[in-house]
């Protein structure tokens, strides 16, 4: 009996975990391009990061906080540039940090073929953040680590 309860509990835990887990979508550039271009009613915040990038990890909590603070006004998309074979590491990181934003892993290794299409001013260094007003198409690209206030400022400039 004890063994049955144990197995039932374990399988419930597995089911619960797999539902709670916010796994990264592995995407190609066409999906990212679509995401950038999709129109709507919100301010879209797209951040490029990686688990190996110290400054990126430092600023990620600000993006998570912004997603909560401006819940009805913005959407937050966190695009990991980790290598695709590191997907387990990315998912583990997302789980450990309790991240709830949309998470992607961009599996496009031929960097020179797409960096300019995200923004001509992007050198390729991360972190980098793209903010887009889905209604007007107005956009702002920032290639540097943001503080909490800087990210808020960036978003509020679009909301006002």
């Amino acid at each position: 009996m004890k063994i049955i309860i144990f197995y039932v509990t374990m399988s419930l835990l597995v089911v619960f975990n797999s539902k709670a887990q916010n796994d990264a979508d592995i995407i190609k550039f066409d999906r990212l391009d679509q995401l950038i271009k999709e129109s709507g009613e919100r301010i879209k915040v797209i951040n490029f990061w990686a688990t190996w990038c110290g400054p990126c990890i430092k600023e990620l909590p600000y993006f998570e906080a912004a997603r909560k603070n401006y819940a009805d006004k913005i959407s937050v998309h966190l695009v990991s540039l980790d290598f695709a074979d590191q997907i387990a590491k990315v998912n583990k990181f997302v789980e450990r940090k309790g991240m709830k934003s949309s998470i992607y892993l961009l599996d496009e290794i031929d960097y020179n073929s797409w960096i300019d299409k995200v923004d001509k001013n992007w050198s390729g260094a991360i972190p980098a953040t793209l903010v887009i007003n889905e209604k007007t198409g107005e956009r702002k690209f920032v290639e540097s680590e943001l503080t909490d206030d800087e990210l808020k400022g960036l978003i509020e400039n679009f909301i006002d």
């Binding site: 190996w52 990038c53 110290g54 400054p55 540039l81 290598f83 074979d85 290794i109 031929d110 960097y111 020179n112 073929s113 960096i115 300019d116 001013n121 992007w122 050198s123 390729g124 260094a125 991360i126 972190p127 702002k140 920032v142 290639e143 540097s144 680590e145 943001l146 206030d149 800087e150 808020k152 400022g153 960036l154 509020e156 400039n157 006002d160």
Partner: protein
Amino acid sequence: MRKSSMLIAMVGLILSFAGSPVNNGYKVGDKVEDFKLKGVDGKMMSLADHQEAQGFIVVFDCNTCPYSKAYLKRIKALNEKYADQGYPVVAINSNDPKRSPGDTFEEMVSYANENDYEHPYLYDADQTVAKRFGATNTPHVYVLNKDGGNLVVKYIGAIDNNSRDASAVDKRYVEDAVDALISGDKPAVTKTKAIGCTIKWKAA
């Protein structure tokens, strides 16, 4: 409330300047000013010390970035292949060790020893060389060529088109550029971009 949104708006305004990319570095075709930096051998080095060189493969690099690590063997191979043909690799580490503790001069010395560097590995302590070049990430390559008495930038960007897997590379940007220069031609591709670790700048 009004005050706080004013403040946020002001921060945003400042950011719109601070966030502008630094685009005032060297462009392809620009003449390069020589520098004098300390190498891991403890000696000061200038490009002018290499009178016999036809040019240089300058690589902004570091000890700590996963992309630099992924390219370590390929950077050594570039030097092995091209130093004798007149285009040695010169690697420069411009990271602020306060922000990246694995990039102190002492760590550079041990890293170069552990990895049997044959090429110079220079310490850009005040980051002036990286700023002058306009380097943004690591590894970031500038191929230079001697034209008359001047060193001129001929290529800026990535080493090749697959940082993850050297065996899957099908565009060798730096090799193609240097091969062209050796044959007396202009490189066909003069500028590429790659994802990389940002250079860790000193706090302003």
